[in-house]
Symmetry: C2
């Protein structure tokens, strides 16, 4: 199975309002709740593709209960989340009906005690032997050591399990030193890590810092991959309109699914591009339009770049 | 005991952010959850003043459970809420650290079935004989008939229990025809009811429409009361800085507490003004600063107006 790790799971709440105006009162016309957090989204996409997938991480409180109920309802994801005392955070996305734009409010997450963190590490150790790949995704809740991902990467590498890291800031900076097989930063995470806003330069720099392969998700510009086998750009056939939330998580699912199938980098990137685009066309993070995915898989343009460029 | 009715209870969530910008992503630095809904706030203020108070209304789901846990933790309010299947709504207040201003997002509330509404009416009938006064507060959740308050007012009047109505829009328009003892509209509710933005004219018109007394809460301008015993203005000693959420609910608690104590209108308005001001000085709705209340009770200016003016 593929293992996804979400240390800061979330109950994703979407509010529809006519138009968000600061300091005004708004009547919410529609409320949608879904299980969330990057790794949970990755797991839901993988399950929808038919892969055996287990979601671990931390969840607790009434919001954690709602998250797990939602996960049980979305068939195919094995729930191996570790229960904590604090309540799983909410993330609130406020969608303007007039513009379709979204305003995001992210709670910090529950405080994790040292005993809870130790409990998670034991669960992770027990899950790893059955994993064909592991994805470490998202922010860290308060109380989890900032070097957490570095430790999880070392354990996975010792167990011979390929590991992908998708996070930002200091957790990425610390994690990359433990030599993950793949990192998947977005443009701003990559710039923050390397100090460079030039993606080709920044992805090379990120490899020098320890990542064996770097798949940068550059929004409408598609993906840029810097790997031991070569450098590729991958892009959907045209501009997409929709909800970009979860597009990066779908890209992670695409890379991982092709990796466990033993497919080379161009296939991994084609899947990531097609899934990412199909996720933009779906209303919520963790979901994608399957018909669009099949079509886009044929249409995704993956081109190798001159390594000397 | 004083009975408060909150048909659309709420889990009040306050988010602190640096500055709310539409279409951006925000990290919430602090999350506070409290039991809410206007009648619940009134009950919490009355309990803090030492009055015996029972809160009824409708609550359900995980948010309803959190609401009731919070109510149990705030000593003195008897929980007589009727459990429904749908989940109690959340209201999210986003507070800007830079300006102190608040952006409010209110969920609509759960759908109430006819059987659940009948169940509430039976509970209300059973509670009324022990009530010295009843406050009907706030919006109606989906499924509750828009004329609900009119029915509840008639039952209270038949039982000889004084009834205060604090709502707006069509529920106020329908409710007022059932001749409540007191209504407490704010400026915009009063204008919507009467079509007049001139408070003195609008309060008189509201009495003609059926309210026996009208206490209009006019924000920083204090209260204007139009009653069978006379017309009064009441105002705090000066401008207040703070959080106006819950100031109207504190005013309702002030009026009701003095009413059940058999005090005349000037005393009711002094308490309402002082509590309302002390609520502005407290961080959250349903709370007030007790020391400020005692001081402001002496300082509140209640002046009778010429009925011919």
């Amino acid at each position: 199975m593929i293992l996804t790790v979400t240390l800061n799971t979330a109950l994703d709440i979407t509010y529809r309002v006519r138009s968000l105006r600061p300091h005004a009162e708004h009547r919410v016309s529609e409320v949608v709740e879904r299980p969330g957090g990057k790794g949970v989204n990755v797991a839901r996409v993988l399950a929808a593709l038919g892969y055996e997938v287990t979601a671990t991480g931390l969840a607790g409180g009434p919001t954690g209960r709602l998250l797990r109920d939602g996960l049980a309802a979305s068939a195919g994801v094995t729930d191996a989340l570790v229960t904590v005392t604090g309540a799983t955070r909410r993330t609130v996305a406020v969608m303007d009906e007039l513009t379709g734009d979204t305003t995001q409010l992210n709670e910090p997450g529950p405080h994790i005690t040292p005993a809870e963190w130790s409990g998670f590490l034991r669960a992770y150790d027990a899950l790893l032997p059955d994993a064909s790949a592991v994805a470490l995704c998202g922010s860290l809740p308060p109380g989890v050591p900032v070097g957490a991902y570095a430790g999880l990467i070392r354990v996975a590498r010792s167990a011979g399990v390929p590991v992908l890291l998708d996070t930002g800031g200091e957790p990425l900076r610390r994690g990359i030193a433990a030599r993950p097989d793949i990192i998947k930063p977005n443009a701003s995470e990559l710039a923050e890590l390397t100090g460079s806003h030039e993606p080709a330069r920044a992805t090379r720099d990120a490899r020098r810092r320890g990542a064996q392969a770097v798949v940068a998700s550059l929004g409408p510009d598609g993906l840029l991959a810097e790997t031991p086998e070569g450098r590729w750009r991958a892009a959907p056939p045209g501009r997409l309109r929709g909800n970009p939330a979860g597009a990066g998580d779908a890209a992670v699912a695409g890379v991982l699914s092709a990796l466990v199938d033993g497919r080379p980098w161009p296939d991994r990137l084609a899947r990531a591009t097609a899934l990412s685009a199909a996720a933009v066309l779906a209303p919520a993070a963790g979901e994608f339009d399957p018909a669009a995915y099949e079509r886009l898989l044929d249409e995704a343009a993956v081109t190798e770049e001159d390594p000397a460029a």
